[in-house]
Symmetry: C2
Subunit: 182 residues, 2 copies
């Protein structure tokens, strides 16, 4: 199996990407401490054509050398905004009609393998701080929660890895939205 060259990948240019559609998903980072994790979220959000990344509270914002290093420049192709608090961001997204889902181990969470992505909805997926997770007050504002089933001693994976795991099924279900706008 011959490896495909970068040229053969037919990657959209920055301008072509800007003109493309997006999956109806916004990523919300609730006080994510590590700029490296923020950068990885940008890179995944570029790959899966996420609408926007919301950087809340202490979450680092571009321009940042550490974000740039792990985003490999994806912080320049993916739209983002900063909110002083995640609650403020969640309120704004709810008013815009987004379904708010936190990725967290909470009572009544839907297990990821039982998740049904509704192609008619717009989703805001909220990922939490590396230690504290999504703040309880933010959880209380959500329409639901998604839990990644796990079997290990930690019951916890890196937040940017969790981002990929959860964003992937949304991309797979919603990628038909990515038609060229032209």
């Amino acid at each position: 199996m011959r490896k495909i060259t970068n040229e053969e990948l037919h990657r959209p240019t920055v301008d072509e990407f800007a003109a493309m559609g997006r999956i109806p998903v916004v990523v919300v980072l609730d006080n994510v401490r590590s700029a490296q994790n923020v950068g990885a979220f940008f890179r995944t959000s570029d790959a899966f054509a996420v609408e926007r990344v919301m950087l809340c509270g202490i979450t680092a914002t571009p321009p940042s050398r550490d974000i740039h290093k792990s985003a490999l420049g994806a912080e320049l192709t993916v739209e983002w905004a900063h909110y002083s608090t995640t609650a403020e961001c969640a309120t704004a997204l709810r008013e815009q009609g987004y379904t708010l889902l936190c990725v967290e181990q909470v009572e009544g969470a839907v297990m990821l393998d039982e998740l049904e992505v509704d192609t008619q909805k717009r989703y805001a997926l909220i990922f939490g701080n590396e230690v504290a997770g999504v703040d309880q007050a933010v959880v209380d504002m959500c329409d639901g929660a998604i839990e990644i089933p796990q079997a290990g001693t930690k019951h916890s994976i890196n937040v940017s890895v969790a981002g990929g795991v959860v964003l992937w099924p949304f991309f797979a279900a919603l990628r038909s939205h990515i038609a060229n706008r032209e």
Copy 2:
């Protein structure tokens, strides 16, 4: 939705985890440069109860402060081995009956959303270097390849994020293997 406490997660202890079954999946890291990525793979492999992590070539091995920091100690619960070359590791795994799949953009790769995990097989999933990907000579030894469909300008996500994205459907399909051995 109340957040579940660590006590309520019923995480297995290190001893209980050691006695549990594993999903029939081995993770192979082909010259992964960043110890932080290696640590994240250990953490994900603990969460998804992977059999073993194979650290090949220049891939860092425990004990390592950087691995420990991102693995949060999962490098102590997940079995691992080091091979000087990935080819040597691939040969050994093939002899042990594993189906070798590289995660790479190659001709004829199966797109992740079309992947069918065979519950009768044992898999070795090979992830490549951050820049070069999986070496062509190693790709040539594989039974198949998995590609993560992407729409962005980079056509590339962080290797430890790709690890989570690809390991998740294997865990979801194979978790019935994790019965307590006792």
